[in-house]
């Protein structure tokens, strides 16, 4: 149980900066997920916390101690690797007890802790099997068990689910969440899958190009992204970005998407957006669920418009429709019974109360 703090942490490989100054405070017992595209420095950051990579600058503090030069074995951390990294010549029991054995823990204490962890993970009947005899999901559990028995200050997960098939991944995701609820230990979890990040994290850290883009709760990131990168990275299907202009007309602001299509900006946002009237390179950010079929009852800040649908993707519980506005491909989520058909015009509705205005030059959400 411990806090983890990163202060201006830098990692340089020769002349390439992989991590360019990361500041992060992780509270005790918190579940933090580092997420980002490949090469964004998330795994490197995790490995620096583990001590598997030296840091080129800054400080890493675990439980109040600066651990910059402390070797991994003395950091009191446990790590679950992407390919599990179980010792193939040891059985499950030996794999799980290896760390405790090295620490010269008394044998009955080891036995107690291994049995307890095995029970939490439901692998008691696998204890005398070799890793080769286990399925992917079982190996994953053993790797977690190996971490749990150590009772470390911090759990580190390095893309632990990416070697599993889609169904098992969802199952193990829930499993990891359950385990964290039982064994409340500070956890840092790295993934490139934003769904995993959203579902598991207390707070999500979105990284891009060696820097933190935004830190926040899953809902914060989803509803109030601060950059275009976060807005586009979190959520599936991704947020729509439509080039637009702001126009002032009769005391109200209008969002002009094309010559023929414009919509009034919600009154609550007028004050915030007035400064950007006439600014070039603006974009409207709108999530697919905020573009729907037209309905009889209309809420404030909702606006109907007609579009020719280009592609229809039925998903069962909803149907995705694709069309083009101002050169941008837009995705909307409509009711399966709304009668969407490719090549046909359809009356759609945009809910601007959830809009984002983005300055495409700086990549910031305004």
């Amino acid at each position: 149980m411990a806090q983890v703090t990163l202060r201006k942490v830098i990692k340089k490989y020769d002349e390439v900066l992989a991590v360019r100054g990361v500041d992060l405070d992780i509270a005790d017992k918190e579940f933090i997920v580092l997420v980002g595209p490949s090469g964004c420095g998330k795994s490197t950051t995790l490995r620096m916390i583990a001590g598997l990579e030296e840091i080129s600058g800054g400080d890493i503090v675990i439980g109040g101690d600066v651990v910059n030069d402390v070797p991994p074995k003395d950091r009191d951390i446990a790590m679950v690797f992407q390919n599990y990294a179980l010792y193939p010549h040891m059985n499950v029991y030996e794999n799980m007890s290896f760390g405790l054995k090295l620490k010269k823990t008394p044998r009955d204490e080891i036995d107690r802790r291994v049995k307890q962890a095995a029970q939490i993970l439901d692998i008691t009947e696998l204890l005398d099997r070799k890793p080769k005899q286990l399925s992917g999901g079982q190996r994953q559990r053993v790797a977690m068990g190996r971490a749990i028995v150590r009772d470390p200050k911090v759990f580190l997960f390095d893309e632990p689910l990416s070697n599993l098939d889609a169904k098992l991944r969802v199952q193990m995701r829930t499993e990891i969440k359950k385990v964290h609820q039982k064994v409340r230990t500070t956890t840092v979890y790295v993934t490139h899958d934003q769904v995993e990040a959203m579902t598991l994290a207390d707070r999500v850290v979105v990284m891009n190009a060696g820097l933190i883009e935004q830190v926040g709760s899953p809902n914060d990131l989803y509803h109030s992204p601060t950059t275009k990168f976060v807005a586009g990275f979190i959520g599936s299907p991704a947020m729509n970005f439509i080039p637009c202009h702001l126009e002032q007309a009769a005391g109200a602001l209008r969002l002009r998407l094309t010559d023929s299509l414009s919509m009034p900006v919600p009154a609550s946002r007028t004050a915030r957006y007035t400064a950007f009237v006439g600014r070039p390179n603006l974009m409207l950010g709108l999530r697919p669920e905020h573009i729907m079929e037209t309905r009889p009852h209309i809420e404030p800040d909702q606006h109907d418009f007609n579009m020719t649908i280009e592609v229809v993707e039925p998903m069962g519980m909803e149907t995705l429709v694709y069309f083009t506005v101002n050169g941008a491909e837009i995705c909307g989520r409509v009711n399966p019974n709304a009668g969407a058909a490719a090549g046909q015009s359809m009356k759609l509705r945009a809910d601007l109360s959830n809009m984002h205005l983005i300055d495409d030059t700086t990549g910031k959400v305004l």
Partner: protein
Amino acid sequence: MADIAAPNAAVLAGDRRTGLHKLMQRKSTIAFLMALPLILLIGILVLYPACYAIWLAMLNKSMTKFVGLGNFQFLFKRDTFWDVVFQSCLFAITAVIFKAIIGFVVAHFVHNIPSKGQRKWRGMLLVPWVIPPAMSTLAWLWLFDPAYSAFNWILAHFGIGPVPWLGETGWARFSVILVNIWAGAPFFMIMYLAALKSVPEQLYEAAAIDGAAWWQRIWYVTLPMMRNIIAITALFSLIVTFANFDIVRVLTNGGPLTSTQLFGTWGFKLGIESGDIPLGSCVVLFMVPILAVAASVILRDINKRGSEV
């Protein structure tokens, strides 16, 4: 399929041809035919000489009379034979152990050299193994020369020596073992290096996080992961070292007296130099049961372990 579909009117001769055709089409037949050249080669080069050696070992000195196990009985009664057994075992076991240890250590060093420079080092370290032993042993022979050799010259500077490298039983045994280690360690190095490269890096990382110090990582991760390679390399080297001929022949010719004779060199001395071919092949045949025991022990362990990883 085409055969089955053939019209019933096919004559008997046709049937026979079809049978042969079928036999030729069977996978096992094809496999046998393709392996035949190798089987013949092994038969000519291995089986025939082996059987011939056994046959020779049961003849009298002039090879005119069958004496059964007489030669073996004669050998058992000679002290020199038991000396050779002891010397061969001492030579092979000591040399293999040191070759394995040195190979293991050097493999670790080479493994940790950045990959850019590694090729160069690997190449250089393989040199002792690549040059013909008879030639390199000649160089060692000069180095060991009691009167004007480099070794004794250097030692003299420290007030030590002169060391009778090849002139005294203990030193002579030391010297032949040393040269054998020098020539054989690179083979272990290259085998262990390959094995080291196949151990996943993440296992070491997991062990480091589990709290293993460097020697614990070697003991608990490297060694178990390399077990099979270590066993196979040791077995292979044991056979080759046991049957060593060239190094001893060039360096000491079995001397002083017979104190560095091995099965191979003593068999050669008796059989070729002294003209008692049956007794010589009798000596050499003694390697077979000893190596068979060693091979079965090591290979059984590999089979047992092989199913785990």
